[in-house]
């Protein structure tokens, strides 16, 4: 969040963008012409590298991106693959390993929001994929490095509900030395489990 002056200077110098269009095996490539998307994007301003990649999230996939970052001095990365809700943390870690700010990354969602939902329209899907990557490229160009802050944390846990799940969670936490507040709305813990006679599959008592 606090802008680091050195990196700002870097950004102003020039934007060096790498674009990786993930095939996700065939999950994306079956519908979207990834090669074509990568080719069309390569002509965009500030894009130094634009290529397809079989599994961006895999170790070799990340390796390839990191190697490119070092070799070509890339400072912004677009990964066009699956939902950022799935792999944004993965690629942010990759950015860190390549000594880039993890927030200089943008993902285009070519799987959940393109190839999987337009399976019958490969041409339209390819056109959409290209659009989505273009949007990501224009966005990544404007991204700013951000920095996490560290704040103190209270080493205590509130467990809401004193049934078998809540009791187990409370005991495991407490046995590990953490203080637990176990809140139960009725007059006793035990929950529904306490009402059961025997329990399957071992036919032992519940309490």
């Amino acid at each position: 969040m606090r802008t680091n002056p050195i990196e700002t200077a870097d950004r102003e110098n020039s934007s060096r963008i790498g674009v990786y269009v993930c095939r996700c095996g065939l999950n994306i490539a079956r519908t979207v012409d990834c090669e074509k998307v990568a080719r069309n994007i390569s002509g965009m301003e500030n894009v130094l590298i634009s290529k397809e990649i079989t599994y961006a999230c895999s170790e070799p996939g990340q390796m390839e991106i990191k190697d490119d970052i070092r070799e070509h001095g890339l400072n912004r990365i677009v990964v066009a693959s699956c939902s950022p809700r799935l792999h944004e943390p993965t690629f942010r870690r990759m950015m860190l390993q390549a000594d880039l700010n993890p927030y200089m990354l943008e993902m285009a969602n070519l799987r959940e929001q393109c190839s999987w939902v337009h399976m019958q329209a490969p041409l339209d899907a390819t056109e959409k994929a290209e659009d989505l990557v273009r949007m990501s490229v224009s966005r990544v160009h404007l991204l700013q490095p951000l920095y996490e802050e560290t704040i103190p944390l209270v080493k205590k846990t509130l467990v809401i509900g004193g049934g078998v799940a809540g009791i187990q969670a409370a005991l495991d936490l407490a046995d590990n030395g953490y203080e637990v507040m176990l809140v139960e709305k009725s007059a006793s813990i035990g929950g529904t489990m306490a009402q059961l006679d025997k329990t399957f599959p071992t036919m032992d008592c519940s309490i």
Binding site: M1, E112, M119, D124, V164, A169, I189
Partner: protein, 599 residues
């Protein structure tokens, strides 16, 4: 249970409910309301002298009303804490006071009042469990009309050695030992009409288990199970099912169509056996409804309080169904047990341990790193109007309106919804990682070519973007001209983004977010709703069809709804002609200058 009660690191708050939660990961402030027990739980030795003299008799909830208890009672003998409790709505109060005299330890206090407790915690485990399905709405099986139709939970108490009959199975109407008994499966489960559409997971195995317990009670008892499918998928389950069948329990594939009571109190069940295709009639002494489970009644309230998401079934929604099965989408909050979905004891225990491990993973370092996606004030632009402070759901912004000092953001409290930046008319707030420039550049690129064909959709990260992902995972097909722009919250969607889109040739714009009440940022989407209404009114005034701007609430679980809304948007887009778009562009370009002059 007892271990949890005496563990030095565990503080037990029974008869308590969470009344409010504020703060953020690592630093949650929790308000607990502890209802009065009217008995000092530390001093009480559970001798039971008080209950002996209590003149008031009520049905015993623990035994499903099959036995009685007094107004002062212990829920069950092994209760933790081992202490009596008075239900003051039932107690005759000071006029009676018999229990006060009977208690040697003097631990009964009529004047005790509810307590409010404030605690600070770093993480929260939501383990609110389930409510058994109430079969009264499903009256075709006669639960409300016939005494000899009982629920599976009532049967549990009837065959329990600690239950009201000390484990002797009798049927309620005439207290006779039943010679035959029928189980009806899927009561309140897997039904589109009543109860839940989901499988409750435990009822099949619970019936298999009970059939074996009953055979232990009486090997000659005739037991029939009416089922849709028997789901015996877990470890050791199939063995148990095989054992049940080998002991003569009959499994009939088909749910009864009707249940009648015969003169001798037995139940006549008419059922189509779908294995043979024949209609069968069976006379059974007693019927047990294998009831499913519902989300616990407090789920909704807690969900709103903690800003969590629910599935369409009403259970809590996990952050990822496979990779983060006990994490909520809110950092520092975890799920365990049936709160997240129906499950058996083993799975509940597994999740309990898993959620503890996840909480420890978060807490062991003693510090937490905050996401830097927060808002910042540009002091020289700030006019100290106070709007940002008014809209912030976290009270993270302070402004002294009288002294006219610029607003200040507490970045630790800011959750990054961006509502403040969207509402600030002076462009004095930068929402990091979702700045005006960044979002407008996406809009520009999207509309650079074939703008008239595009459906521009703003989607919030937690609900509608996740709903779009869910549509993808479900392979639901929808028009390919939809383009999503992700924001953390729909509250971030600034009025100017919408105008900018129309001005650059967008035929339609959709703003989508969490349902009202489900907003990940407490109530930021209220501001979205107001803002969209405001923009639509302005559009109308300017002579632009307000329908071209749509607002839709789509939850993370509503993939089907997402796809449907997109199809509707496409139908709407087709009504917008090139001429109409050109007209709007011309209109906004001329008005824009006019408006800028006004500012």
């Amino acid at each position: 249970m007892a271990d949890a009660g005496r563990h030095p690191k565990i503080t037990l708050y029974t008869m308590s409910e969470v009344a409010g939660v504020s703060g953020y990961v690592g630093n949650f402030n929790v308000k607990i309301v502890k209802r009065s027990r009217f008995v000092d739980e530390k001093a009480c030795t559970s001798c039971g002298e008080c209950a002996k003299v209590c003149p008031v008799v009520f049905p015993d909830e623990f035994n499903m009303g099959l036995s009685s208890r007094k107004a002062v009672y212990i829920p069950f003998p092994q209760a933790v804490p081992s202490a009596y409790v008075i239900n003051m709505n039932e107690c005759m109060g000071r006029g009676c006071s018999k229990c006060l005299d009977a208690c040697d330890k003097k631990c009964i206090h009529f004047h005790m009042s509810d307590e409010e407790i404030q605690i600070k915690v770093g993480s929260i485990v939501v383990a609110t469990g389930l409510d058994p399905y109430d079969p009264r709405e499903m009256d075709e099986y006669g639960y409300t009309r016939f005494e000899n139709v009982i629920t599976s939970l009532e049967l549990e108490r009837l065959i329990n050695a600690g239950g009201p009959t000390r484990g002797e199975l009798i049927r309620p109407k005439d207290r006779k030992h039943p010679q035959s008994i029928g189980f009806i499966q899927c009561v309140g489960s897997r039904s589109k009409r009543k109860g839940g559409q989901y499988c409750s997971n435990i009822c099949c195995m619970n019936t298999v288990k009970n059939s074996l317990v009953l055979k232990e009670h009486d090997p000659d008892m005739e037991i029939m199970v009416f089922y849709t499918d028997i789901r015996a998928f877990g470890k050791g389950f199939e063995d148990l099912y095989t054992r049940s069948r080998s002991q003569g329990v009959q499994y009939v594939r088909g749910l009864p169509g009707s249940v009648e009571e015969m003169s001798d109190g037995s139940m006549r069940v008419a059922v189509e056996n779908t294995a043979t295709g024949c209609i069968e009639f069976h006379d059974l002494d007693m019927l047990v409804l294998s009831i499913g489970m519902k989300p616990s009644s407090g789920t909704r309230k807690l969900q709103e309080m903690l800003g969590l998401q629910l599935t369409s079934d009403g259970f809590f929604l996990e952050a990822h169904p496979k990779l983060q099965p006990v994490d909520s989408a809110t950092r520092g909050i975890f799920y365990a047990g049936c709160a997240e979905g129906p499950k058996d004891i083993k799975e509940s225990v597994t999740q309990g341990s898993a959620s503890a491990a996840r909480a420890i993973r978060l807490m062991h370092k003693g510090v937490v790193t905050t996401e830097p996606i927060t808002s910042e004030i540009i002091e020289e632009h700030c006019k100290s109007c106070g709007k940002c402070a008014e809209v912030c759901p976290y009270n993270a912004i302070t402004v002294d309106v009288k002294k006219k000092t610029p607003a200040v953001v507490n970045s630790a409290a800011c959750a990054g919804c961006g509502t403040c930046a969207a509402e600030c008319v002076f462009n004095a707030i930068v929402m990091n990682h979702f700045t005006d420039d960044q979002i407008l550049s996406q809009v520009d690129t999207l509309l650079a070519q074939k703008a008239e064909e595009k459906i521009l959709t703003f989607a919030c990260n937690w609900c509608s973007y996740a709903g779009a992902d869910f549509a993808g995972v479900s392979r639901l097909q929808y028009p390919a001209n939809v383009r999503l722009i992700r924001t953390m919250c729909s509250g971030r969607v600034d009025e100017k983004f919408i105008w900018h889109a129309f001005e650059n040739g967008a035929p339609v714009v959709l703003v989508s977010g969490c349902h009202i009440g489900d907003c990940h940022y407490i109530d930021a989407n209220h501001w979205t709703e107001k803002r969209i209404a405001r923009v639509r009114k302005k559009m109308e005034k300017k002579g632009i069809r307000p329908e071209r701007l749509q607002l839709a609430w789509i939850s993370a679980a509503e993939g089907v709804r997402f796809a449907r809304v997109m199809t509707e948007m496409e139908a709407l887009r087709r009504t917008v002609t090139r001429e109409e778009i050109q007209e709007t562009i011309a209109l906004l370009n001329s008005r824009e200058n006019h408006e800028n002059a006004e500012l």
